[in-house]
């Protein structure tokens, strides 16, 4: 599912096939949550999720994303606001009536039951006939490629297999919405990437709505239709992965998603209509940038620039921003070089260059010029 190119972040990519406006399959209206009556963990959360959409709540730990998930599941009650499922408020509905599939961080597979019994549990609760139960369990196990593991105990499975069983168990009773609470957190890197694709494919095949919580931005970027970036109980930006990466709305999102070079300075020139401004960084140099959330001269601003958008030794005059830089460190990373340079007094400025046949890696102490386009340099809040 390629993310949409439009900046309109509120238009979900999964519109109903019949064109109906089922944009609000799950929606959060002004949801606030406080545990102690003194501080808000979630401060006014608004989100509409379309049917079949894969939404990720992304943020550092303690940002309120898991609380939002638990409120959706019914294990926490919103202090204020409503959560709606298919248009009906579910605040006072007990968890077992909500019919949501949940994958927990530690999988929560029942250790005293076999894998098949675990999967049969939600069907047993719904008093499905035995034969139908067995058929569904087998189908779910085959979906996660564990067809022959039904008789094992969870403890006899590896982490990745347990994860897949948990996923199958959350899907076996065909819920409309599946919630996942950092389900891949306990897996090693390779397995995590493999599982990301597996979950993604299952989502595409079943068309189930998924709400996924993670603190891992690469996971979020890989899998999601849209991502809500949380910090401090507030959604900082809600957008498609591409939008989020290419056009972060504020300094937090820019820092949190992907690698990012920052330069701090004051806005000295502002031309909102033309979409350009000039920021004088603390060293005195002036940088032409795209104003994102600065509005007038004199404001403090953080300039954000992706490492891969920096051009090394550009033709003079070809880019609006060209500066001299001293190479401080070159790290070989196989497919690319990571070059750390000192530019405009910022010694943490990173440039990524692909490891191509005709590119010569730089050496420490070398003096080079670096440049970047106006649109790639975003002037954000300080």
């Amino acid at each position: 599912m390629p993310p949409s190119e439009q900046t309109d972040v509120l238009e979900p990519p999964h519109a109903g096939a019949d064109g109906s406006t089922d944009a609000a399959f799950v929606s959060f209206r002004d949801v606030q949550k406080s545990y102690d009556g003194e501080t808000l963990v979630v401060k006014g959360f608004n989100l509409d999720i379309a049917k079949g959409e894969f939404i990720t709540l992304l943020g550092p730990s303690g940002s309120g994303k898991t609380t939002c998930l638990m409120m959706t599941a019914g294990f926490e009650v919103p202090t204020h606001g409503d959560i709606l499922l298919k248009g009906t408020p579910i605040n006072s509905m007990p968890p077992h009536k909500r019919g949501l599939g949940i994958v927990f961080q530690n999988y929560a597979l029942f250790p005293h039951m076999t894998v098949a019994e675990n999967l049969a549990f939600p069907l047993e609760v719904r008093s499905l006939p035995k034969a139908e139960r067995a058929a569904k369990v087998q189908r779910a196990l085959e979906m996660v490629r564990l067809g022959s593991f039904g008789d094992r105990r969870p403890a006899q499975l590896s982490g990745g297999q347990q994860q897949r069983v948990a996923l199958a168990r959350a899907l076996v009773f065909e819920p409309d919405v599946v919630l996942m609470d950092e389900p891949l957190g306990a897996l090693d890197k390779n397995l995590r990437e493999e599982m990301q694709f597996e979950i993604k494919h299952i989502h595409e095949n079943l068309g189930v709505t998924m709400i996924y919580v993670t603190h891992d931005q690469s996971e979020a970027l890989t899998m999601s239709d849209r991502i809500a970036v949380f910090n401090d109980g507030v959604v900082q930006q809600l957008a498609t992965p591409q939008e989020l990466y290419e056009r972060p709305a504020n300094a937090f999102v820019a820092r949190f998603i992907g690698e990012n070079n920052t330069l701090v300075g004051d806005v000295v020139e502002m031309d909102g209509a033309a979409g350009k401004c000039v920021v004088r960084v603390d060293g005195g140099a002036e940088i032409k940038a795209l104003p994102v959330n600065v509005s007038k001269t004199g404001e403090r601003s953080t300039l954000s620039l992706r490492p891969e958008r920096v051009v090394i030794d550009p033709e003079p005059g070809s880019l609006p921003n060209i500066f001299e830089a001293d190479v401080e460190e070159v790290i070989y990373l196989g497919d690319h070089h990571r070059t750390r340079v000192n530019v405009l007094g910022n010694r943490e400025f990173v440039i990524k260059t692909p490891n191509a046949a005709n590119v010569r890696p730089h050496r420490q102490g070398e003096r080079i010029t670096v440049g970047w386009a106006l649109e790639d340099c975003r002037a954000l809040d300080a």
Partner: protein, 438 residues
Amino acid sequence: MSTISSGPRPADYPNRRPEEAVAEPTVMTTADGTPLKVSLSRKLRRSKIKAMLLVAPLFVFLVVSFVMPIFDMLSRSVDNPEVPTELSRTVAAIEGWDGEGLPPETVFAAAFQDIKEGAQNRSIGRVATRLNYEESGARSLIMKTARNVRNAEMPANAKAFLIDIDEDWGDPAIWHVIQRESDPYTLSYYLAALDMEYNAQGEIVEKPEYMQLYVDLFIRTLWMSLLITFLTLLLGYPVAYLLANLPMRISNLLMIMVLLPFWTSLLVRTTTWIAILQSQGVLNDMMVAVGLISDDGRLQMIHNQTGTIIAMTHILLPFMILPLYSVMKTIPPSYLRAARSMGASQLYAFRRVYFPQTLAGIGAGGILVFILSIGYYITPALVGGQSGRFITNFIAYHMQSSLNWGLAAAIASILLAAVVILYLLYNRLVGVDNMKLG
């Protein structure tokens, strides 16, 4: 992770050359050529010796204070030295007796000599007491005879002489008992402990009903222990659940309250129950004050079974709560949440998901409380009265008051056997490997 790739076998290691894997079924050696196994066991020997030295004091202590007394007790329950040693001549003479009528004159003569010698050595009392266990009146018979024969000369007709001292010597019963108990080992303590005896024909029969005591006591001890175990489970389960699931600050306080009884003397706790439950006690006073019962209708809650059950349930409660707690602590709340998210009501989720996972704790706590209570002594002794007494109280009685150590040993051995059998049964049903004590 290993299950996915099923773990590389040694031969799959890339750094091991294939010809090595084929041509080397020989012993692995270290760099200097010592076999790997020898070298390894040499290295481990020191730590093994160290570990053994650390365990040794406790091991010796256990052998001396636990294993040896148990064997001593087991042997005492069948040991029967009195008749064979004190009445050695009689035992030899009575061996060939067919049991019809009275034994021949030689037996009476041997008995005369044995009793006379015993009287002079002042050792006759032991055998008198021993025979009295089997035949009431035997003690006074022997002691009376001993007084009379101490300074007497061997009469021409020992039979007439002894019957003249006490006509009971003319009753074959005493001679049957002597003949029966002439072995150095006896079953009669076990028979007594099971309310059985030998009849005149030497057959094993039940004692008359009014003399029966111990079987009922065994049964009472078992069912009261079961009831107490069940009550501790009933009361302890919710507390353990709270302990495991409340926030740390509150659960710590609760834990202190659970452990508080451990810091109080057992005697204090038991006597407190007397103060609370007795008919002029706190509870009765309160019930009278609020008009629940009338002043002359005060409830008898102590010095009977009720008292024993209440006090022991209270005293043994921590032994149920702690194993339950330790098991519940390891059950993350996400299990219940997962169950509920899949549509299970709270009760259903508890029954199918939570409860089965606590079985290990229930098993551990159950067997702990049951075995402790089956052997409990002080509390039933203090608050049990007549009807709330345990078999252990009779073990103590025979140890301390009647000094019938053989019978005490036999009762204790039966109790031990019962516990072992129940434990094995339990192991078969629940599996000791599945139980967690902490």
